[in-house]
């Protein structure tokens, strides 16, 4: 028996879109406002979990063919490599740098290696959270 969940489906489609947009905002705002890698990653994960709960796992997997274990590992690797990159400039491990640049559209923008590190954090969090939820829900 297939339950009639048209409302859930429709709402989720919109909600996930909003959640993901907001997560990205949270993530990039993290440098100056509340937010950052952990929060951004977790809210992306929660959006994805909502998708998995609403639609069945197979459907979502067909549309997002990503192995989230690898995402987690990739995140950790990014974090380590951004940390190690400072060694190339003869700075201690995990030394972060930042600077201000004039970009065409954004105007004067601050670019910091810390954001790259944060990308690693966010990916690790997303990967782990989704892996955990998926593994449990797949096991019947």
């Amino acid at each position: 028996m297939k339950p009639n969940d048209v409302i859930l489906h429709s709402v989720t489609k919109v909600a996930v879109f909003i959640i993901l947009t907001f997560s990205i905002y949270l993530f990039f705002g993290g440098h100056h406002n509340p937010g950052g890698g952990f929060i951004g990653g977790l809210s992306v994960a929660s959006g994805l979990v909502l998708l998995y709960l609403t639609f069945d796992i197979e459907t979502v997997r067909r549309n997002i063919p990503v192995d989230f274990k690898k995402v987690a590992a990739f995140g950790v690797l990014i974090a380590i490599f951004t940390g190690a990159s400072s060694l190339l400039f003869d700075k201690p491990f995990l030394n972060q740098a930042f600077g201000y640049f004039n970009l065409p559209i954004f105007g004067k923008t601050e670019l910091a290696t810390a954001v790259l590190f944060d990308v690693g954090v966010a990916l690790a969090v997303i990967g782990t959270a989704v892996t955990i939820i998926l593994s449990i829900s797949e096991d019947g």
Binding site: H32, N33, F38, L42, I132, I136
Partner: protein, 112 residues
């Protein structure tokens, strides 16, 4: 505020500990969850409450609450999530494999 928070933390710890000492796996997990909330609040309270604005430099505040405990707690929350998940899955697996969630029955063999 600090005093009432301290008492609240104490109550959370008491309930959490009591749940951890019971025989049911579920209650133990719930207990660890409650204790972790207690710990987070404890760290925050120890740093001093409401001593200034939120630790954001863009705002108009000139004094800030202690930012270090917050950073500690942020990591603690995330780690706690992972640990809770691991706990849950461990107990779930235990139940599936051994067919019980009673700690009394899960003890090791006599001859070990």
């Amino acid at each position: 505020m600090e005093t009432s928070m301290s008492i609240l933390i104490g109550v959370l710890f008491t309930i959490g500990t009591y749940l951890i000492l019971t025989k049911s796996l579920l209650r133990i997990i719930l207990g660890t969850s409650i204790i972790s909330h207690g710990v987070n609040l404890l760290i925050l309270t120890m740093g001093g409450l409401k001593t200034g604005g939120p630790p954001l430099l863009g705002q108009h505040d000139t004094t800030f609450t202690d930012s270090l405990p917050q950073a500690l707690i942020l990591t603690a929350i995330v780690i706690n999530f992972a640990v809770t998940a691991l706990f849950l899955v461990l107990s779930y697996r235990t139940y599936k494999t051994l067919g019980t969630d009673n700690m009394d029955k899960l003890r090791g063999m006599e001859d070990e």
